[in-house]
């Protein structure tokens, strides 16, 4: 199976307030269709790692490969494009644009990518919402739906450009157990049915246990 995401000797330092070695020689890879979770204590660097993997954080040492292509050192416009096309994000907070309708929120990254016509994008967006069982919310304002629904809209938005991988930063952190369950099932379903790779940072051990592979981190090192 092909590798979606790979890191080689990634080191990261925080320079403020004092020099702090957050990530120490991280070597890891995510294969296509793999549902991986990263767990670890607060401050162990798992979120930091995720943001490096997301290409948003560029201040690190080492090399990062996305679909076997070196990403490190690319121009930020190129990085924006790669993020847009290959990476979907789900955060702890939903980050929907509250003035827009659900549908528009989902369509936004695709509009930016600009590979499809508006009609196609809209069709895709409705499709993604259907997959997540929230098709009926499409025309509602993003600020008028419940927390669990918002998180699912955020997932739909992450999916719109058919990314190679979805990165999640505690996507269930703000949800009750019922909604967490829901979100997990959605991820699982995507992984199984569409062969999507997922990398989820979480505190939730129950959540992590159900994934294919668990990466445990401690003090900036991967321990298992």
């Amino acid at each position: 199976m092909s590798t979606v995401l790979e890191t080689k000797n990634i080191n990261k330092y925080f320079r403020k307030p004092v020099l702090f070695h957050v990530l120490k020689d991280i070597n890891m890879s995510i294969k296509k269709g793999e549902f991986t979770s990263i767990i670890g204590k607060s401050g162990c660097g798992k979120s930091t790692l995720l943001y490096i993997l997301s290409t948003m954080d560029t201040e690190y040492e080492g090399e990062l490969y996305l679909n076997n292509e070196l990403v490190t050192g690319q121009h930020h416009n190129k990085l924006s494009y790669l993020r847009n096309k290959h990476i979907g994000f789900v955060f702890q907070f939903h980050y929907l644009l509250s003035e827009f309708s659900v549908l528009e929120n989902v369509m936004l990254p695709a509009k930016k990518l600009g590979e499809k016509s508006l009609e196609e994008i809209e069709h895709d967006a409705r499709n993604k919402l259907e997959i997540l069982n929230i098709g009926h919310l499409a025309d509602k304002r993003a600020s008028r739906i419940s927390g669990g629904e918002k998180q699912r809209v955020a997932i739909a938005r992450a999916l719109i450009n058919n990314p190679s991988i979805i990165l999640g930063d505690e996507p269930t952190g703000n949800l009750d157990s019922h909604n967490s369950e829901n979100v997990f099932n959605v991820f699982k379903q995507l992984c199984d049915e569409q062969g999507l790779s997922l990398l989820i940072v979480t505190h939730d051990e129950d959540f992590a246990k159900k994934t294919d592979r668990i990466i445990t981190m401690s003090d900036g090192v991967i321990i298992s």
Partner: protein, 413 residues
């Protein structure tokens, strides 16, 4: 982009406050500029319209070179001449009619018309009032120098038609209690007395002038003075382009050996006044627009703080810094455009209102309402300024938005 529009529509209150800032700025600018330049134009017109662009006359002055300078044996010595007298010459322009015909042929010239200046006395019983009687061609004067605007009673056409008619200065008419249709006696310096019929009252708005100045036709004046038909003391020239006045005056002076004064030299202080008034107008308008610009700056700044999360997610999902900047620039420019256009409307409405307000003064007989200058250029400048100022007001906050690090925002939650 659509995002910019939706943002603006969703924050209609803030947006409209920002746009109102621009609207007031531009509106005030338009009003101020139109009104001020209207006033300026009127004041300038008061003097300048009546003033010929080039005034040609025969100046009584001492010879530039005294005869002794030509005396060769004293060439290297220091010469003192006491009590220099003006050169013996006449007030009339020699060959005036051919010169006029020649000037009128020039393509740059709108018209050249003759005048006769003479000093007379207005006689009322035993009282003699000194004054000027100017011989003019009423119809030509009206065509070139808006003469008719200063005739408050009667008309310049009557002056043309009625033999021995006079357009009396309003000051004199008041002093001598004369009205339209009355007779007045004038006496020349030589002592000849002529009765003239008052066919109109002239009021320039400048009291000094109105107290002494009267007009009659050229023929009448020639008759009063007992001079021939080629007796002309002044030639007034109006050009198509006032900027050429200086060079043409020089040209004519050399060509005809007469004194030729251009309008700028004659009214230099006026020019200064006008430009200073314009300067003040522009300074105030720019201040207004800058204030409006700061309003926009503030609102966009707040907006960006409020939209931190949105910006972060836009960046996370693949919008580059430039896209984000573009969104905010769009918003700024939309505010500028909408505010600016509304401002133009407000300005137009206000100036139209001012234009209808009554404004009557003794000094300005022809003005009935406040003068307003509806120059489309001001609107062009106004909208350009609105866009430029909102561009800069939007540029700084949008740069900040461009530089926002999404990781910091998202991790900070």
């Amino acid at each position: 982009m659509a995002i910019a529009k939706t943002h603006l529509l969703s924050k209609i209150k803030q947006t409209s406050v920002a746009a109102l800032g621009v609207t007031f700025g531009i509106g005030a600018y338009i009003t101020l500029v139109c009104f001020m330049t209207g006033l300026n134009k009127m004041l300038d017109g008061l003097i300048l319209n009546q003033t010929p662009h080039i005034h040609i006359y025969s100046e009584i002055e001492p010879s530039k070179e005294q005869p002794i300078a030509g005396y060769e044996t004293l060439e290297n010595s220091f010469k003192v001449v006491h009590s220099i007298k003006p050169k013996q010459s006449q007030k009339k322009i020699h060959n005036a009619l051919p010169i006029m015909a020649y000037i009128n042929k020039d393509k740059r010239v709108k018209g050249a018309i003759p005048q006769i200046k003479s000093n007379i006395f207005y006689i009322s019983g035993s009282i003699e009032l000194g004054g000027n009687l100017r011989g003019v061609e009423p119809l030509e004067e009206a065509r070139l120098f808006d003469f008719q605007n200063y005739v408050v009673k009667g008309s310049h056409e009557d002056l043309h038609k009625v033999d021995n008619g006079i357009l009396l200065g309003s000051g004199i008419a008041k002093k001598m209690s004369l009205k339209l249709g009355d007779k007045i006696q004038v006496s020349t310096i030589k002592g000849d007395v002529f009765p003239l019929k008052i066919v109109g009252i002239y009021q320039s708005g400048l009291a000094e002038v109105d107290d002494i100045q009267s007009f009659a036709t050229i023929k009448t004046v020639q008759r009063i003075l007992g001079e021939a038909e080629n007796y002309i003391t002044d030639i007034n020239v109006k050009l198509y382009n006032i900027e050429e006045a200086y060079s043409m005056a020089q040209e004519m002076e050399n060509q005809f050996g007469l004194k030729a004064v251009d309008i700028k030299t004659a009214n230099a202080q006026f020019e200064t006044g006008t430009s200073i008034r314009n300067l003040i107008t522009y300074a105030v308008s720019i201040a207004l627009l800058i204030v409006a610009g700061f309003g926009i700056y503030n609102i966009l700044n707040m907006f960006i703080y409020e939209k931190m999360n949105d910006i972060a997610i836009l960046k996370a999902t693949g919008f580059s810094g430039k896209d984000v900047q573009y969104i905010f620039m769009c918003q700024a420019l939309i505010i500028g455009l909408v505010g600016g256009l509304l401002g133009l409307l407000v300005g137009f409405a206000l100036t139209s209102l001012i234009d209808t307000l009554p404004f009557e003064t003794e000094a300005l007989p022809t003005i009935k309402t406040f003068p307003v200058n509806f120059d489309p250029w001001f609107y062009v400048i106004g909208i350009t300024f609105a866009l430029v100022s909102t561009f800069f007001a939007g540029y700084l906050p949008s740069r900040k938005a461009k530089k926002i690090d999404p990781v910091k925002i998202i991790r900070g939650q």
